[in-house]
């Protein structure tokens, strides 16, 4: 099993470890709900080194990524990052990614851990099918990635860098650390303000010391505490951020997932416009009025959670299925996401969820379920 450069840090901080996509990762340290609240009220430190980091550079890097990504790439400025999908030819979702434009011809693509090999193969295939001059460099094993998320994070980071707190959302800067460089972006997967830092593996100890010099992680009131993958999941659910394998998948039409902002069906009309893989299929879907099912947010009565795979019903018949669900620690209500027939997506629509153990009363609600005042 793979270990991240922060593996020892996790064990030192009492983490309970699990196998996640072949990586030995912390699911929790003190408790999922406690860690969740720590992020909403103060700050959390997440090891996200298991995610794939693939550098794509060279003369045709821009054009290549326009083909690969559903979102426009050419109008990105160096220092900007963008959320995008990578689709298959049928318009299903191969992965969701963050693209960093480091320079005119230099990009970094962050992909899901579970999809890294698949995307690397996909990249190879797309590349050999076209005439591209570019280099692919999988930097996952030589770098680490740490997310700092929560309302107090920017104050903490401000003590180390004056520049970082001035970054806008989805912008990044490259900072020097001794002889190496680290990328700091104002991004995250929790619905809170914060940053994600990509750094060479060998500098992790030094960077953590620098960052945590005023923080005692063992202090119950510490501004920043380590947070595991368990709370990462409940945080992203409250923020209604999709997760591959749940809301996103090869068999799920990209236009059904509630991330239309990341799909530029008009990108070919732009100057130097290229089409993306899956665009033909998605144009047909759009012309037909959209996919038959769409992702909705659901609020559920009572304290019993709906889980992935549960059937969503209306008037006694099947109308869709749940993709994610949990008792929201912030709202103290059970929330879920799921795909339902297009006619049932309006907020206020009453539905029933069959968990196999009980039938739960649910109502369609707008997403996100939780929105921070600042971010």
């Amino acid at each position: 099993m793979h270990r991240t450069p922060l593996h020892k840090f996790h064990l030192d901080n009492g983490a309970q470890m699990v196998d996640f996509a072949g990586w030995d990762m912390p699911i929790l340290y003190s408790g999922i709900i406690e860690e969740h609240r720590q992020v909403r009220s103060s700050g959390g430190l997440f090891d996200v080194s298991h995610m794939g980091r693939v550098k794509i550079h060279g003369r045709h890097a821009r054009r290549f990524l326009e083909t690969l990504c559903t979102r426009r790439i050419s109008d990105m400025q160096p220092g900007q990052c963008r959320y995008s999908l990578v689709c298959n030819a049928a318009g299903g979702v191969r992965d969701d990614v963050i693209v960093y434009r480091i320079d005119e011809d230099e990009f970094l693509v962050v992909v899901n851990a579970s999809n890294r090999q698949k995307i690397l193969e996909h990249i190879d295939q797309v590349r050999s099918a076209g005439d591209y001059s570019l280099k692919i460099d999988d930097q996952t094993m030589s770098t680490a990635m740490v997310a700092l998320q929560g309302p107090k994070v920017m104050d903490l980071v401000g003590k180390v860098s004056r520049e970082v707190p001035t970054l806008k959302r989805y912008r990044f800067t490259v900072k020097n650390l001794v002889i190496t460089k680290l990328i700091v972006s104002r991004t995250g997967y929790t619905g809170e303000d914060g940053v994600e830092v990509i750094l060479p593996s060998m500098t992790v100890d030094l960077a953590m010391k620098l960052l945590l010099k005023d923080v005692d992680l063992k202090d119950p009131r510490a501004a920043l505490k380590p947070v595991g993958l368990g709370a990462r999941d409940t945080l992203r659910m409250e923020a209604a951020m999709p997760l591959y394998g749940h809301e996103l998948g090869e068999g799920i039409n990209a236009l059904a997932c509630g991330v239309d902002f990341a799909i530029s069906l008009d990108k070919h009309n732009a100057e130097k416009g290229e089409r993306f893989i899956g665009q033909d299929a998605l144009e047909k879907t759009a012309a037909a009025g959209g996919p038959p099912h769409r992702l909705v947010g659901l609020q559920i009565e009572g304290k019993r959670a709906a889980r992935q795979g549960n059937t969503i019903k209306t008037a006694g018949r099947d109308a869709g299925h749940v993709t994610s669900g949990c008792l929201s620690p912030t709202l103290d209500k059970v929330i879920a996401m799921g795909f339902v027939e297009r006619a049932l997506t309006a907020p206020g629509t009453p539905l029933t969820i069959d968990t196999g153990r009980a039938e739960l009363a649910a109502t369609v609600v707008p997403m996100p379920f939780y929105k921070t005042a600042k971010a």
Binding site: Q16, G31, A305, C326, T355, R357
Partner: protein, 126 residues
């Protein structure tokens, strides 16, 4: 942490403490660690008659929903009401205040299939 020796354990991670003809049932530390934060508990109501191996309730955590089994036959006589107000008692004190229910045993044959603390801990180290 060693499991207490005043009770016996199932491989589905329930502890069974027999006192006279009354059995107190709960979840082991290993089970609670695996389930993570528990958010909901629902046990069969007092008066429910159960056979050995029956489901006597379920617990939901942030991550999953799990059934609770009882190794012997009898009748549910009491459920821990404190858990409906505060399911997290199961996380903080699974072997004490987080007990699940009490059962009046009428056939204890299933007890023979349960493990003692040492055997359970050896099979499920936490």
């Amino acid at each position: 942490m060693a499991s207490p020796t005043d009770r016996v354990y199932s491989d589905s991670h329930e502890w069974h403490r027999f006192e006279g003809d009354v059995l107190t049932l709960g979840l082991t530390q290993y089970a609670v660690n695996t389930l993570t934060d528990i958010t909901y508990v629902e046990m069969k109501k007092p008066g429910t008659v159960i056979k050995a191996g029956d489901i006597v309730g379920e617990v939901e955590s942030v991550k999953a929903t799990s059934d609770i089994y009882c190794a012997v036959s009898g009748e549910v006589v009491e459920v821990n009401r404190a858990l409906s107000d505060d399911p997290s008692l199961l996380n903080t004190d699974p072997l004490g205040k987080g007990w699940l229910c009490k059962i009046r045993v009428n056939d204890a044959a299933g007890k023979a299939g349960l493990k003692d603390a040492a055997a359970y801990d050896a099979a499920h180290p936490c």
